[in-house]
C-alpha cells in the first residue's frame, strides 16, 4: 500500500529533514510513528498525506509513484487518506455536523444522502448531543473526536494522525487510541505520530522510530 525507497526530504536548499527512509506499510496495519521533537515525524506525515513530494528516492502509494501524479490525480488519491491534525483544524463557522460532513460535501453528495451516516458516526464517537455546536463550544477532547470523525467519514484506506492525544489526559488518550484500533479492525490502515511513550506501551502495535530524520527502528 505504501512503500518508501531511500526517501530524502529537504525544504528548499535547507538541510535534509528526512534521510534515506526505506519501509513498507501493508494494508490494514496499525503503526505508531514516534521519535523526539524535531526528528521529522510531521514531515513524514506530510509525505504520507501527499502534501509534499520527496527530494530524493521513491514513494509509492496505492501502486503509483507519487512523483508521476499530476495535481488532479494527487487530489483524487488524497480522498483515500484521512488526516487528524494536532491542532484539529476544524472550521470555526461550521457546526460539528457540518465539519464532519465536509469530506462528503466536497464530493458533491447532497445532505440527504449523508445525514444519517454522519449522525451515526457522531453518536459512535460520543458527539451525538453536540452535533449542532460550533467548535468554539467544544472541549479539547470533543474537538479531537470531531476531527477524527471528519477524517474517517469518507471511509479512507489510510488514516494519519499527528499527535492526536497531545491535548488529552492519559485516560482519554487511551480511549482515543482504542477508537483508532476499532477503526483498524474494519480494515483501515492507521499511522499515529506521537511522542508519548506511555501511550506506546499501552498498545502492542509496531513502532517506527525516527531519530534525526532517519528511521532508527521499524518493528
Amino acid at each position: 500500500m505504501i512503500e518508501f525507497t531511500s526517501v530524502g526530504l529537504r525544504y528548499g536548499q535547507g538541510p535534509e529533514i528526512l534521510k534515506d527512509l526505506t519501509f513498507r506499510i501493508d494494508p490494514g496495519t496499525f503503526h505508531f510513528l514516534t521519535g523526539p521533537s524535531g526528528s521529522g515525524k510531521t514531515s513524514l506525515l506530510k509525505l504520507l498525506l501527499l502534501s509534499l513530494k520527496p527530494s530524493s528516492g521513491k514513494v509509492t502509494m496505492f501502486g503509483e509513484d507519487v512523483m508521476d501524479l499530476d495535481q488532479d490525480r494527487l487530489l483524487l488519491m488524497r480522498r483515500h487518506i484521512g488526516i487528524v491534525f494536532q491542532e484539529f483544524r476544524l472550521l470555526d463557522h461550521l457546526t460539528t455536523f457540518e465539519n464532519v460532513a465536509l469530506p462528503l460535501r466536497v464530493l458533491g453528495q447532497p445532505e440527504s444522502q449523508y445525514r444519517a451516516n454522519v449522525e451515526e458516526l457522531l453518536e459512535w464517537v460520543g458527539l451525538g448531543e453536540r452535533m449542532h455546536a460550533h467548535p468554539a463550544l467544544l472541549s479539547g477532547g470533543e474537538k479531537q473526536r470531531a476531527a477524527i470523525a471528519r477524517a474517517v467519514i469518507g471511509r479512507p484506506d489510510i488514516l494519519l494522525a499527528d499527535e492526536p492525544t497531545g491535548n488529552l489526559d492519559p485516560e482519554l488518550s487511551v480511549r482515543l487510541v482504542t477508537l483508532f484500533a476499532e477503526l483498524n479492525r474494519t480494515g483501515t490502515t492507521i499511522i499515529i505520530a506521537t511522542h508519548e511513550l506511555s501511550l506506546l506501551d499501552s498498545f502492542d502495535f509496531p513502532r517506527m522510530v525516527l531519530r534525526d530524520g532517519e528511521l532508527a527502528i521499524h518493528d
Binding site: 502534501s51 487530489l75 480522498r79 483544524r89 472550521l91 463557522h93 457540518e98 469530506p103 466536497v106 469518507g154
Partner: protein, 307 residues
Amino acid sequence: MTDTPRFPTRSRTTPIVPERSIAGRTLMLLIAIMTFLSGVTLGGVVLVQKSAIAWSSDVGREVTIQIKPIQGEVMDSNLRLAVSLAEATPGVASAHALTLEESQNLLKPWLGEGLDLSTIEIPRIVAVQLSDPTDADIPRLENDLKSIKGATLDTHAAWRQQLNTMAGAIVVSGLLVLALIVVATVLAIIFATRGTMATNREIVDVLHFIGASNSFIAGEFQGRFLLIGFRGGIVGGLAAIVFFLAIGIAAGSAGIGNVSAELGLLFGRFSIGFDGAAGIAAVVPVIAAMTAITSRLTVRRFLSQIS
C-alpha cells in the same frame, strides 16, 4: 462538558466560505459605483448617439435657399420664383418662403430684442422640405437657382459632417471610459479576491487536505463573488436609471415654453428611452458575470500557486 441545547435540523447548509470573511460590503459598494459609472457612461453615449441621429436626420431633410437683397431685384417675386423652382425639383416635398417677420425673428437671438430691423434689408429664406434626402435632385435645384440673382443653396452638409464627427468622438470617448471602468473593476475584484483568499487560507488548506478539487474550492468562492457582483450591479444599475430619469425630468422642466423646445431641439431630449434603459440593465449581469469569472480565475491561480 458544556451542555448545548440541540437545535432542530437546519435545512440550509452553512456556506463553506463564511460571508463575513469576504470584504463583501466594500466590494459591493465598489461594484455598485463602477456599475453606476458604466451605466451613466453608456446612457450618455446612447443619448449623444440618439441626438446626433435625430439632428442629422432633421437637418438632412431640409435645405435652405437664401436670397440676398440686391439693388434692382424684387425680393417678393424672387421668393415666389425660388419656391416654384424648388417645388418643381424631384424629391422635394414642399417649399415655403419665410415671412419678413419670421426672418427678423431668426436674427433676434443674435442681435437682441428691441432693435428695429425694418430699416435694414435682410436676406430672406426659403425653407425646402425634402421627401427623400437621398433621391432629391439637389444639383438641378442649385443650377435652377442661378437664374435668381443673390440666391444660394445651403444643404447643411458641413454642419452635418461636423455634427457626426463630434458625436462620433464623444461615443468613442465614452466607450474608452467604459473600457477603463471595466479594467478598474477587474483589478479591484482581483485585489479583493486575493485578500479574501489570504484571509481564508486555513479553509483552503483544510479543503485541500480532505481532497477538495481546485474547481470545487474555486466554485465556493465564485458563488460568493457572483452574489456580491449581482447585488452591487443591481444597486449601481438602478441608480444610473434613476439618475437619467431625474435628469430627464429636470431638463423637461428647465426653460419655459419655446426655450424648453429650443433646448430640446439643440441638445436632444434627455431621455435614454427603453433601449438605453435596457442597455444599462444589461450592464448588471455583465458586471456580475465579470465579478464571478475574475474571482474564479484569481482563485484558480492562487490555488495552483499554493498547490
